[in-house]
């Protein structure tokens, strides 16, 4: 029986969500998305540059993908709600990643404004995935407010530092009922693999793929690592010990047993 992630009422096959920022070009991004075989892809909204003749990014995202707009740029709940409605009006569907950031140095989410936005948008029928600072009490509130998942950060956006918040994320995994998706900071496939091994439902990766020397190969690497981590989680990782345990028999050998 296939292992699927139930999210926003859908059955999702890939536990690797991909962000579309920072790619050198849309065609390159398209190749990476195809290599990653993600089912959920994030995009942002911005004012059009009336001068430019920029391509439409949507044409470079596989039609099979769920489009999830983020509210980046929002500094409070109201702006996040406004951006979410614009995204929906633009026909991208009703999946929204809430991202409310006040701090431009670490781009850390504002859990309280994020919660307010979740409350409003969940009521409006959006499928809401809040990007948040890992905190059990606020994660519980996001869940109770109707969040489809919670997305704690592993480390600051784009820092590629990995799961530095493991201690807190592990607690979310044990205590929160909706899927826990680590978003931001994952720098390598082993980071992503580790998240799935500890029971996270999925990961969202952007920078580590987009700025790799070969983004298409890196997308494939993340895809494999996420699959490996999930398989390992389901297969039951053995616990670790502090001393050794022989993998070869330690019985006497080549010696006189009378000795």
């Amino acid at each position: 029986m296939e292992d699927l992630l139930t999210l926003g009422g859908r059955s999702i096959k890939s536990r690797l969500l991909i962000g579309t920022g920072k790619f050198a070009s849309y065609p390159l991004m398209k190749k990476a998305l195809e290599a990653a075989q993600s089912d959920i892809v994030t995009v942002a909204l911005r004012r059009v540059d009336t001068g430019s003749k920029a391509d439409n990014i949507l044409e470079y995202i596989p039609k099979s993908c769920v489009l999830m707009a983020n509210t980046s740029g929002a500094r409070n709940a109201d702006e996040a709600v406004r951006i979410a409605r614009l995204a929906k009006a633009s026909g991208s569907g009703n999946w929204i990643k809430i991202e409310v950031v006040q701090d431009n140095k670490y781009l850390l989410p504002d859990n309280l404004e994020t919660l307010k936005a979740v409350e409003i948008l969940a009521k409006e029928g959006f499928i809401v995935l809040p990007y948040m600072s890992p905190d059990l009490s606020m994660a519980r509130r996001m869940q109770d407010a109707g969040a489809a998942a919670v997305m704690p950060l592993g480390s600051p956006i784009g820092s590629n530092r990995g799961v530095k918040t493991r201690e807190l994320v592990e607690i979310l995994v044990r205590e929160i009922k909706v899927p826990v998706i680590v978003d931001a900071g994952l720098g390598s496939p082993s980071d992503a693999c580790e998240c799935l091994e500890m029971g996270c439902a999925a990961v969202l990766v952007n920078t580590a793929i987009a700025i790799a020397r070969d983004p298409v190969a890196m997308a494939r690497a993340f895809k494999e690592a996420v699959s490996a981590g999930r398989t390992a989680y389901l297969a039951g990782l053995a616990s670790s010990g502090s001393v050794a345990s022989a993998s070869s028999p330690l019985t006497g050998f080549l010696r006189d047993e009378t000795r």
């Binding site: 579309t20 995009v43 911005r46 004012r47 439409n56 983020n70 614009l86 009006a89 784009g158």
Partner: protein
């Protein structure tokens, strides 16, 4: 009359519809969303909205983001 388009002030001689504005700016209707004084206007209604002095218009489209 003066409009605020995407945060920038612009003066135009005579009243125009959203429709006309989008065309004048050379924008592809399929890839944008238009907000007129904080309410979203669907494509089919662009021709019905004529801009007045001090109106605020936001024209938005998708870009890459994580």
């Amino acid at each position: 009359m003066i409009l605020t388009l995407n945060g920038k002030q612009e003066s135009i001689e005579k009243p125009v519809t959203l429709d006309a504005l989008v065309t004048a700016k050379g924008l592809c209707p399929d890839k944008i969303v238009v907000e007129h004084n904080f309410s979203i206007i669907s494509k089919e209604d662009w021709s019905k909205v004529t801009l007045k002095d001090q109106d605020m218009i936001e024209i938005i489209s998708f870009v890459g983001g994580g």
